[in-house]
Amino acid sequence: MINKKVNTVQEALQGVQDGMTIMLGGFGLCGIPENAIAELVIKETKELTCISNNAGVDDFGLGLLLQKRQIKKMISSYVGENAEFERQMLSGELDVELTPQGTLAEKCRAAQAGIPAFFTPAGYGTEVAEGKEVREFNGKMHIMELAYKADFAIVKAWKGDAAGNLIFKGTARNFNACMAGAAKITVAEVEELLPVGSLDPNEIHIPGIMVQRIFQGKTFEKRIEQRTVRQKQ
């Protein structure tokens, strides 16, 4: 077994420097690496380019890094939940690259899979297509999109082991599974770090080869953005 386990979030984020490009998993606040984000705030790493489907809310998730002006550029598909984000974007303080969600996922997956580029119909005929190569396949227009190049991918999983194997829960799998192995170094933050041998190999979502460092997060707030319930009759 090749050991990927590190004991602290500080150790897990060693080498993260100003100006780097970092992928962060999660959809909204679901499945975000909360402990690593908190540590990035403490580290005061600046000028970051962050690739993440959303930008958190004002006081949680990537919103915490935005508040401290640690993010120079944000690559996301939807940022509607964050007023500070919108303010920084409209005032020009923050560089923003809005990308269709499926394209964002595939640009991660392409990096993970060693594919430099791919064609997708998403965004054809819109401002997303500006400056991109267009080709027709099977009578339909497609635009060329490139795989992301990132220094770190920080993902969050439910269970993991010291070999770096990961299992996700529910819809918290989202971009975490696409980003694992898509950067030079992948850091996995897990709720439960179990002894090697306790995870069933049949149930592993991401094999340990995609992960360089794994640690168990101290606390998980798991904030819910839209608590919707129905009444018992």
């Binding site: 679901c30 939940e81 989202n174």
Partner: protein, 218 residues
């Protein structure tokens, strides 16, 4: 004139047995409440779930199980979770039979705009651009006119586009419209709404053939 719930009720009639359906945020989400219970339909949410059920009972919410609107949800028997790349894989490869989404503007050539008002509002396109670029069957749920009474059913969209030539059908508080090569064909009018009212509320080319029936809701 229809309310939001009634627009959702009318659209629910378009959902057929055996369909996998993706619902957008807003009125489209309400459609799930009105689909016939005697047909087999599975709802897909692009954040990675098929087989979405109703909202959870109070106290049973799970932060790890949400829909694309970030709302807590439940899953039904036969449901599955998957990652975002696979989720859009099933959208791009047209496994999803019907996409229902909202819009700020639609045009008579099937163009749709729903993600950006330059200088004012930029929330992002989310999964909308992927959905409209690949879905075979797209129904738009929207208001026919804006707060000032100006038509949002246009000859040409004025806002940045989400997709080109993709919308098939539009259901508004006033009418059901079908996109055809010659313009919007008026299929149905809302109960109590006259054809003249619809003409006055529509900037786009309207094709009106024969008597236009009233929508049947519920």
């Amino acid at each position: 004139m229809l309310g939001k719930e009634e627009i959702a009720k009318r659209i629910a009639k378009e959902v057929k047995d055996g369909y996998y359906v993706n619902l957008g945020i807003g009125i489209p989400t309400l459609v799930a409440n009105y689909v016939r219970t005697d047909i087999a339909v599975e709802f897909q949410s692009e954040n990675g779930v098929l087989g979405m059920g109703p909202f959870p009972f109070e106290g049973e919410e799970d932060a790890d199980i949400i829909n694309a609107g970030k709302q807590t949800i439940t899953t039904l028997a036969g449901a599955s979770f998957f990652d975002s790349a696979l989720s859009f894989g099933m959208i791009r490869s047209q496994k999803v039979d019907l996409t229902i989404l909202g819009a700020m503007e639609v045009a008579e050539n099937g163009d749709i705009a729903n993600w950006k008002i330059p200088g004012k509002m930029v929330k992002g396109m989310g999964g909308a651009m992927d959905l409209v670029a690949s879905a075979e069957n797209i129904i738009v749920a929207m208001m026919h006119v804006n707060k000032k009474g100006e038509s949002k059913i246009l000859k040409k969209c004025s806002l940045p586009l989400t997709g080109v030539g993709c919308v098939k059908k539009v259901v508004t508080e006033l009418a059901v419209l079908e996109v055809t090569p010659k313009g919007f064909k008026l299929l149905e009018r809302a109960p109590g709404v006259t054809v003249e009212h619809i003409i006055a509320s529509t900037e786009a080319t309207l094709i009106i053939e024969g008597n236009i029936p009233e929508m049947v809701i519920d």
